[in-house]
Symmetry: C2
Subunit: 383 residues, 2 copies
């Protein structure tokens, strides 16, 4: 069905500023100039990458656009989450103005989640908004960060506290790009696919479990299948709630406890590691509260183990944090303004339990959370 150079792709995500396609295809990066011409035409493109990905992919993207006769320049910023700041946002904006980008220009983000978030926010606020094309080069960015229009930077008081919703014009996921990443990074990214399966599609969860060895090895065909299916699940959710007023909350499954763990560990573990443990614990929480069908936490734990990731707080490499410290982070979480922490709870694997009133996160008693956390801290350290 596809024709050379500009293949069709069935994934189209509706958004208030216009629907946008998500192209998931091995080798798509080579077709980027043609895809840009079709879906995000501009007289000038600003390619934004971090200093690591810039030389690997960013420069090649800019060069390939220029070879097709359109102006493009590359601007880079220092790599790492600690550079996802307002300062980097300001410098990148300056570089775009310096490079002559106008209101008809388009930003092309080439990199991991930090880059797609940062460059998306630069585009959202450049001359009141220019187009952004997301070209994720990490698995977690493909599966999670690049789709859905969330953009932003961190603040000393918390992650992503400054940002905007700004849907991309186009997302291009080339699974060839991630085959060369370290195995551990692919595992981190696959946790978000596990989450998508857990909340909406039990078959997807099984697929990740079955294919785990090939996915971890970086087999592009397997990665492409998982990315496409996972993006489709996220797209369905985002399409129904672009601005996170309701359903989109389900994407936070595993993240309430995951974020607290990440913070308590001083960001010394990967986001995927923290969310993997977070999902297992939030499933146990749901089981204990009678909301989640028994066995869900065991199923999730099995898949997370298949990815060679820890499932207990005590199993991860930094020492288990004090439960009291975790509770403090939970209380500071911006989702829990009523006093009680809120978690998305499963009804069963593949389905989230409604919290009523159009909400999808449940207030959970702090003592039950504390019990689940301390048992998991014990469990791991005894093992």
């Amino acid at each position: 069905m596809s024709h050379p150079g500009v293949p069709d792709d069935p994934l189209v995500i509706p958004a208030s500023g216009g629907a946008y396609p998500v192209v998931v295809r091995r080798g798509a990066l080579a077709d980027l100039p043609a895809l840009l011409r079709r879906h995000a035409p501009a007289p000038l493109y600003a390619v934004v990458s971090d200093a690591t990905v810039g030389p690997l992919h960013g420069a090649a993207v800019a060069e390939s656009i220029r070879e097709q006769g359109t102006e493009a320049f590359l601007t880079t910023f220092p790599a790492g989450e600690r550079h996802k700041t307002r300062d980097t946002w300001a410098r990148t904006t300056d570089a775009l103005l310096e490079g002559g980008l106008g209101r008809d220009g388009v930003v092309v983000a080439v990199g991991g989640g930090v880059t797609t978030d940062l460059a998306g926010f630069v585009a959202a606020t450049f001359m009141r908004g220019v187009g952004v094309v997301q070209v994720p080069t990490s698995l977690v960015a493909m599966i999670d960060a690049a789709v859905g229009g969330k953009t932003g930077v961190d603040h000393p008081r918390g992650k992503n506290l400054v940002g905007a919703f700004h849907a991309p014009r186009l997302v291009v996921c080339d699974a060839e790009v991630v085959r060369t990443l370290p195995r551990e990074e692919r595992a981190q990214g696959l946790v978000e696919a596990v989450k998508h399966g857990a909340i909406r599609d039990a078959d997807h969860l099984d697929e990740v479990a079955d294919e785990a060895p090939r996915l971890l090895e970086g087999e592009p065909a397997a990665l492409e299948r998982v990315v496409r299916r996972s993006v489709r699940i996220k797209a369905e959710v985002v399409a129904r709630d672009e601005r996170e007023a309701g359903l989109r909350e389900v994407l936070n499954f595993g993240h309430t406890l995951g974020h607290a763990l990440e913070a308590a560990w001083g960001y010394g573990v990967g986001h995927g590691t923290a969310v993997g443990v977070g999902m297992v614990l939030e499933a146990r929480l749901g089981e204990r509260l009678g909301v989640t069908a028994p066995g869900a936490s065991e199923t999730l734990a099995r898949v997370v183990k298949d990815l060679d990731l820890p499932v207990e707080v005590g199993e991860a490499s930094p020492p288990a944090p004090e439960v009291e410290a975790l509770l403090r982070f939970l209380r500071a979480d911006k989702k829990g303004r009523e006093g009680l922490p809120r978690c998305v709870l499963l009804a069963r694997v593949g389905e989230v339990a409604s919290a009523g009133d159009g909400r999808w996160s449940h207030p959970v008693p702090e003592e039950v959370v504390a019990a689940v956390l301390s048992e998991s801290a014990e469990e791991g350290s005894n093992a």
Copy 2:
């Protein structure tokens, strides 16, 4: 038809994030807590003002909200366009986080155009967007800045280069507030009403001319009538083109030459003064190009004179800038990427001439612009 405390108001502006009301009524400021409760309910309000308006109105607004039993705090920034920067945006964001504003909080901007633009941008980017209520306290902010959702800050390379579209939840214009402003400031604001009349409503232009003495004196009933009618015109335009993809361009009438004059004068004149001259010159430009019906520029000049503002480049108080300098600013203007400057041209007073292809600004030959500019520089200095 209205009931005490929370009066109805017919002005409702559609926007992608939801329609919002514009309340234009003397004394409306006293009803602000009730209006907020109805149109922008929140557990906590952050009132943003500059250091001049803060003590005059901002503190009273925060106090009146608290008196009604809802939490509110005031944060201020140094007054003046030169503080409309990313730095002030960052500090204001910090103050909101410090004050405990969450995703369910609402920003209340109380001030002139700098404040409504800046606070709007803070709200647009705070936790990916919180609600903003615009309470303009200058006439130009009432007539122009507070309605339409444009927000942003300046950059060393140009005004409003960093920003976002973020429609307010509510706009409250209380003409009592502007009666105490200096006469000259009211004249500056009325220029935007003249513009609204020029592009869409010849009767509104006549109204401003007829009422000029009372408007300049600060007669609240007259000001209220003009603000309401003028906001309605802007609302009609914005409703049809929220993101400035087409029709909204007509609001730039007088602003291509106006901005160049403002920049060439080193911002030593008011924005209204520059736009007043800009409208007269762009009308002459249209007449000379055979696009604008003869006589339009004279009609506009008469109304601008009624506001005690200059109509010729040579008449304004800084010396007339070199025509070559003006052309340089025009070439740097972000609206003129094709090489030729573009101006919105009238068909006649009250109606804009389409430029075809859904565009409303016409490319104009530089030599005709140069001729109109140099004649006006002469005219004034001979007068």
